[in-house]
Symmetry: C2
Subunit: 404 residues, 2 copies
Amino acid sequence: MISVQEATARIGAHPGVPPATQIPLSQAVGCILREPVHADRDFPPFHRATMDGIALAFAQAAAGRRTFRVAGTVYAGTPPVRLADPESCVEIMTGAVLPGGADTVVRYEDLQLDEGPGGRRATLRGTPEKPGHNVHLRGTDGRQGDLLIPAGTRLGPAEIGVAASVGRATLTVSGPLRVAVVSTGDELVEVDQVPLPHQIRRSNAHMLGAALREAGAAPALFHVPDDKPTIRRTLERILPEHDCLVLSGGVSMGKSDFVPEVLRELGVETLFHKVAQKPGKPFWFGRAAAGQAVFAFPGNPVSTFLCCYRYLVPWLRAAGGQPVLPAAHAVLDETIRFPPPLTYFVPVRTYQDARGVVRARPLPGSGSGDFANLLHADAFLELDAGTDTFPAGEAFPLIRFRNG
Amino acid sequence: MISVQEATARIGAHPGVPPATQIPLSQAVGCILREPVHADRDFPPFHRATMDGIALAFAQAAAGRRTFRVAGTVYAGTPPVRLADPESCVEIMTGAVLPGGADTVVRYEDLQLDEGPGGRRATLRGTPEKPGHNVHLRGTDGRQGDLLIPAGTRLGPAEIGVAASVGRATLTVSGPLRVAVVSTGDELVEVDQVPLPHQIRRSNAHMLGAALREAGAAPALFHVPDDKPTIRRTLERILPEHDCLVLSGGVSMGKSDFVPEVLRELGVETLFHKVAQKPGKPFWFGRAAAGQAVFAFPGNPVSTFLCCYRYLVPWLRAAGGQPVLPAAHAVLDETIRFPPPLTYFVPVRTYQDARGVVRARPLPGSGSGDFANLLHADAFLELDAGTDTFPAGEAFPLIRFRNG
């Protein structure tokens, strides 16, 4: 039997590697980029008006000219035009290409427009500040070929916008880890079935599927009865098709707990079996010959749940390139005594007191290990194996399992 | 022109109401439940063994009996049996139904098994603590008909586990808000097209689609050219099919900015037009006759982006029942002067200094309004309209747009 710390270290030594996959841009938000994205042309690609107004040659205004003939109007999307002569101007809308021969935009607010004898005219209220005013010059933000988004970046909406602007309709990203969730147990029936009095519905697999999905993995759910040849046949078939295997049940010392034996027969190396913790002591972890991590949790729902949030979810987040969550602590509300030499994970409800301190009220529940015990809790408090008494008022590590 | 605070209040007065929808349990994690979930039978549904060992009648052991004939073995999933007589016992595995006539489980650790002349026998090492030891009695955690999960709950993995155990293969939840994203602008071409020198690709709509998706909404992307009848026809068609409309472009004072006019013609009430802020001053907000919120953002990418994170994302999170993010602040690294009477949203990169203080380094960029200016930033700092000078060392509100 190993400690919680040692179990964490051994799991961390076998990080998951998600497969690279090409997906449409519209599905890429939140994914980790696996290729660099470069500029396919200059940013911006042309001298661009940043205000609505008129485009003119600065030298004319600097030389004292106030009135310019308006030769036309260009909009964002109008193909490039040229000023007919330096004494004319063109009305220009934000985003339009600056006409050839012009180098400056004067805002509508800084001029007057009227219809003169020779047609439409613009009269400046003053001299523009400098050449290039209200113009965003080609290439200011980036040059063709520049690296815009390096591989390894988590793609947020800003990166999606940049990728769209350089024409990346598809992107190579880390796909979700393909995780097989396998529940065992003859007492289990499907969710849509009515159980006989001695049966219960399959809830662990659905809980695990939900937690995996929330952590960004792609779960596939399987069920096997407590029959060794069937367990072996099923695991043999699904192992090569997945990046990770998560089992629930069949790892205790009971007469029908075949899982560790079958996994060994399939060439999965045992990295540990049993952790000095409550709940979840029979937790088994190993690595398949082809590298897949195999987590085998005890079948008790709260044990499975604790192991999932204490070990599996952080491992999945790391594999998915998600940011490490900051370590959290909470101050215990009531003294807890727990003499066994095991790390005790007690369900708690957290809240902030008037001084902003995060506190934890223990909700040990009926101890039955059913999910119903967790409905009012939002975290586990981790009470280390080294001590018997955990005094009220002290802070202990917190494992949150709810976002809101 | 109204203030940022007033714009926030007016938007908040028109909350989004997501449609109720029935979905399979496997897709429900993270959703808001729209119906109560009750227990369909007692929790646990039978007297259940919580340890591997033997099941016996406590009275016999209390009366001094140490050796019991082993009459068989029951597993989790074995239909209920009865003790043949009070002097016998049954081997029992965790999760199995307690046999009729038995009321207590003694763990394997607390007994010895051997083969006697009359068959298999179990001999206790001591007297069990009390009747009911290592048995989880029927109905301890809940009674048939009990409310387990009230409507309005965000479904985490624990709730999914409970829903599975009471047979809810489908659940009624809040579906994603159906949001139409409409980009305007003749200069825009599709992402997979090669733009002519005066054209650019459609990136705002993709950025908005990504942000909406991240906030839990269901975006649908549309594009209209700068042509009033086409804009009107398109909006008239898509408005009834969506819970919310988000437009990008066409709300400034330029000659082809038809959006506010068309929206008015379609019966969308103007709740405000123009906010005293930079970027994003021309922001327009209204409400359609059928109740849909309509956000019309300026077409400049950074303006659209700021409006999206400052106004739209919090509104979507509230509509989706997601937890309110705690207000965040950061300490400004460099003094900023900004004289116009506008709230200035400056892109920043945040970091924690050695004392744990969150600080913000301004990254105003080229001011071009292109997404490339945001790639190195992770938030905006909100510098209020009331002041000209924002001193280094003071803390200001932060609008984060990256998770990691």
